[in-house]
Amino acid sequence: MNWLIFIHSYLWKNSFRRWFEQPLSLLSKLVVSALLGILGAFVILGIKELGVQLDSRLTDRDALTAVIAETQNTDTAISRIDSGMSDSKSWSRLGGDVATFYQVASYADIGTERTLMVIAVNSMEKLGLVDDFFIVSESRPKGQKLEFEINGYRSEGTVIPPTEEMKTILLGRNAVLGEVGRLVGSMSLGFTETTILRTDSLENLEQAVSIVAAMQKRENRKVFIQSNLQILRELKKIREIQAQALIWVTVVSGAILGLVFGSLAWMEFREERYLLALIRSFGIGSGTLLAHSLVENCLLAVAGVLIGFSCLSITTRTVDLVALNMSWLGSTDSLFNGDGLVLLAGAALGGLLSGIPVAIGLRKPLGLVLT
């Protein structure tokens, strides 16, 4: 096998000599790969940043929250109360947090305000409160005692600030809050049941939407759901497109490098075809010569891309990216730790593609080259 070591060392010496004699060819390969590396790095880092933002949106509890509302009139309110209003248990099976509020179709009167919303809940304990009446208000001092009247029923409530879930319903207004058991009389006149469902995944949110659709269709209920599902689906679709974009970045980089390197490799092959044919006439197979060409071009392509990454990394460290509104470019180190592998694979692919014209050239019979 000494001859194999010898011929490979000879071919590498020949490559170094060629690089030295024709530095423009070497530079072209490195510069084109480096530019593609930089361009590809921009795309990859941009996609990565977009992915991070999309992921945070897709996993954001607020984005995964649905508001389910169903209005009961005087005809249906009693039977709904008698049935135990069990929907919240169904929603609980989807995982996440469930909070149900019943907006009574009556107003409370506290003297200064005559049209206060009345909100009933299944359990005050779940809200961390004792079983009593409360006046939910952001503007009134916490702990203040206020008298109120609902449909002739008079009582007193303590002022508390609204919870996050209540804010969704109150929208800045004040309300009287009490347990269902204390407000059955008023609820029998009608109410709107509002369930705030904070799911923990897009799949569960999709399931909730499906359940509501089934309620509307099969049970003929006037139940409505409000969610970000459509937007989230689109975001998920964008996330999927990102994966495809990365594949395309690899393929296109590979194809461009393949074309550029292939053209240069073909020119180099034409210059060296007599030498290569002579070496073949000494008994060296075309495969050995092709392998050398492939390794040389793959190495140059990968080296060029790494040079591109390094240039980008140095530039991002010296430039104020925040001022340029390009802070997403700050994670160039990740190019060397895995994110850049896609581009390196593309570069290697380009190096391999460049072997095609050389392989075709090496198929020519020796007797047609050497005369």
């Binding site: 001859w3 002579l278 073949r280 000494f282 008994g283 007797g367």
Partner: protein, 211 residues
């Protein structure tokens, strides 16, 4: 040990006419000289015989030759001196020999004898581009026979050379073929080489003239 060319037909790619059709010839272990006018197909036959061209039809059979047709055959058993020599112009004489010899697994020291016989020993460090035409021709011969091949093809080895260079090449080829059992085929129109041939083949009439 012999090379048999059976019913060979060959046409160059992109041409209409055959160079030859159903042509058969045998090259035994002696010096065969192919004579004929330029363009009659002598060089083509050499390249077909060496396996560097694939015949359009017919076959080249190598009998009694180790690893015939394989890369090992090209590496160790075959030497071919091309009409254009195909030397490495920027490499030294020694380097030109060493590439072929090292691939064949032969120590460069064994080439000394042939470099001396061919008058190249003192020129061994000189690059080929600085040699005269005759000297280059001798380098190509040295590269071919220093490998000690079993099959030696020489395509116009003395074309355009003066008598002195021709004499040196003749004596080297004669010495090599007499000391080794070699199939040697020389394609030439140079009559000065006839004295080293054991067999002359007139390529124009395909008549074999045993000497």
């Amino acid at each position: 040990m012999k090379i048999s060319c059976d019913a060979l037909t060959y046409r160059y790619p992109g041409t209409r006419d055959n160079i030859f059709t159903d042509f058969s010839i045998e090259f035994p272990t002696h010096v065969t000289m192919l004579r004929g006018y330029s363009g009659c197909g002598k060089s083509t036959l050499l390249r077909l015989g060496a396996g560097m061209l694939k015949p359009s039809s017919g076959a080249v059979r190598m009998e009694g030759i180790h690893a015939a047709g394989s890369r090992e055959f090209f590496r160790k058993e075959l030497s071919f001196v091309f009409q254009n020599l195909n030397l490495l112009p920027l490499a030294s004489v020694e380097r030109n020999l060493s590439i072929s010899l090292r691939i064949a697994g032969i120590d460069l020291g064994q080439a000394q004898k042939w470099l001396e016989i061919l008058g190249l020993w003192d020129l061994r460090g000189r690059t080929v581009e600085r040699l005269s035409g005759g000297q280059r021709q001798r380098v190509a011969i040295a590269r071919a026979i220093a490998k000690r091949p079993k099959v030696l093809f020489l395509d116009e080895p003395t074309s355009g050379l003066d008598d002195e260079n021709t004499r040196i090449i003749k004596s080297a080829v004669k010495e090599f073929t007499s000391e080794r059992n070699t199939i040697c085929v020389v394609a030439t129109h140079d009559q000065r080489l006839e004295e080293i041939a054991d067999e002359l083949v007139d390529f124009h009439t395909f008549v074999s003239l045993e000497k």
